[in-house]
């Protein structure tokens, strides 16, 4: 016997439990693993949706739901605009073996009318959808993640061996604002590894050269040039407002100044350093993992720690380490994966080997310990007392490199 639409609707109502928007709101609080699926068309979803919902158009439900909700026993609530399509969609899920499926009565309209929270989905321009299409295909990134990257601010300390490859890939990835701190000019000896610069820009300011390359690669990126040397007097001003800092300098002085300011400002620093065929890489996530001073409480004397300009470096080593830094930056911005916080990754190009060492927070750290935080709040600094008078870069200290060392080592 043929069935009418009302017959089908009646059947669906009799088999699928319905929940009101208020009940869904409570259910979400009480059931963290609740799968909330919006079965409307894409054009409706783009006008606004429930926070935390997954969008699967009813026409794609059978094809896509197993990817979004793999567990047949998981509690699922479906909604549409008015509560009818979601009832029929729920029947389909029942047929597929989902055991706990409900439909939200009144749909998104009722949800909005009752003043419950909803959000507009992130949106990209058509040209951005094309440019970032390979990111959009990854569930962990998607439109939301890409919009987050476009809204992010990353500061590169140095447009050199590490900053060049990381800057290129972060710009390509669509990190919306890339700040670059560098006071140097492009030198012919930089071009063996500093791939953001070009032969015809020798003598040009590195920040300007980098800006040209990065904006030519991706015009979405706003490059902020800080054409100055990072010092204790300007570090707080320069790093303010950035989400993540990528440390690609090659002097200890800058690394300690940056560490102390970044911990105080609670900004994560993705750290790398290179020497000949070797590199070290980690993430300093303030108060969650160790900081640079936990790892190395004091810098070595300059004669025991030659920089790249003295010791040399195989060009690909900062290339590899710089891209690993960019990878950590993207994970931090997207909030995905496990960062290297608390782990030091060593790379040896000759062995083609990676080694991982465990790092810990130093409970007596003069910068990130509880005691140091209290001291900072009270307007004093612990560093000079806890590190000892021999610490050249103690907070507020006045250490300066022997003449020529900083200049010479900076590449």
């Amino acid at each position: 016997m043929p069935k009418s639409y009302s017959d089908l609707l009646r059947e669906a109502r009799s088999t699928i439990p319905e929940v009101t928007p208020a009940e869904v709101s409570q259910l979400r609080e009480a059931t963290p693993d609740l799968a909330l699926v919006d079965v409307r068309e894409a054009s409706e979803w783009e006008q606004g949706h429930l926070p935390g919902a997954t969008h699967i158009s009813k026409s794609y439900l059978e094809q896509q739901v197993e990817g979004a909700v793999p567990d047949r026993a998981a509690p699922v609530v479906l909604y549409c605009a008015g509560g009818v399509r979601s009832l029929f969609a729920a029947q389909t899920l029942r047929e597929m073996g989902y055991s706990d499926v409900r439909s939200m009565s009144g749909g998104f309209q009722a949800w909005k009318t009752q003043g419950l929270p909803w959000k507009l989905p992130a949106s990209l321009r058509p040209d951005q959808k094309l440019r970032y299409s390979r990111h959009l295909l990854i569930p962990e990134v998607g439109i939301e993640g890409q919009a987050k990257l476009l809204d992010s601010k990353v500061l590169l300390i140095g447009a050199g061996g590490l900053g060049s490859p990381s800057g290129l890939y972060l710009a390509a990835a669509g990190v919306g604002t890339i700040g670059i701190v560098d006071f140097d000019v492009v030198d012919a000896s930089n071009l063996q590894r500093q791939v953001v610069h070009t032969s015809d820009r020798i003598g040009e300011k590195k920040v300007e050269s980098a800006r040209k390359t990065l904006t030519a690669l991706n015009p979405d990126v706003n490059v902020v040039a800080h054409d100055e040397m990072l010092v204790a007097d300007n570090v707080d001003r320069i790093i303010a407002g950035y989400d993540v800092i990528l440390d690609g300098t090659d002097t200890f002085e800058t690394r300690y100044i940056l560490n102390d300011a970044a911990v105080a400002a609670n900004i994560p620093v993705v750290h790398a350093s290179v020497f000949r065929f070797e590199g070290q890489l980690t993430v300093f996530q303030p108060f969650e993992g160790p900081c640079y001073r936990c790892l190395y409480p004091t810098p070595p004397p300059p004669e025991l720690a030659p920089g790249c300009s003295v010791a040399g470096v195989l060009g690909v080593v900062p290339g590899i380490l710089g891209l690993l830094q960019a990878n950590e930056v993207l994970k931090l911005l997207l909030g995905i994966g496990d960062t290297l916080a608390g782990r030091l990754l060593l790379f040896d190009a000759l062995d083609a080997s990676f080694t991982e060492l465990k790092l810990r927070r130093d409970s007596a750290c003069p910068v990130c310990s509880d005691e140091a935080v209290e001291a900072r709040k009270a307007g004093r600094s612990l560093a000079t007392t806890s590190v000892g008078a021999d610490a050249p870069f103690a907070l507020g200290g006045s250490w300066t490199a022997p003449a020529g060392v900083v200049e010479e080592a900076r590449t």
Partner: protein, 90 residues
């Protein structure tokens, strides 16, 4: 004998070797034996008071000895000891 991994920064002090096999029951004994054999290493590794310099970390099987027993950390023959000074190059 325990294998001690020598990073590039320190390699000139040990004749370019990447790994030195050396005897010692503790980290302290191994460091003493190393600086005995390669005197230029002493300034790199040890401060005036005989403690490790704060800019050099020593790891035994991936763990920082500062959080084990420091120079007193026991070392077995098959353990891997790694010296790791700070480096700044970028």
């Amino acid at each position: 004998m325990t294998a001690v991994r020598i990073p590039a920064v320190l390699r000139p002090a040990v004749g370019g070797e990447k790994e030195i096999e050396i005897d010692g029951a503790t980290v302290g004994e191994i460091i003493e034996a190393l600086v005995g054999r390669f005197p230029p290493l002493r300034d790199q590794l040890l401060a005036g008071d005989g403690e490790l310099n704060r800019f050099v970390n020593v790891y035994v099987n991936g763990q920082d000895v500062r959080y084990l027993d420091g120079l007193g950390t026991k070392v077995e023959a098959r353990d891997e000891v790694r010296l790791l000074p700070a480096m700044a190059g970028g």
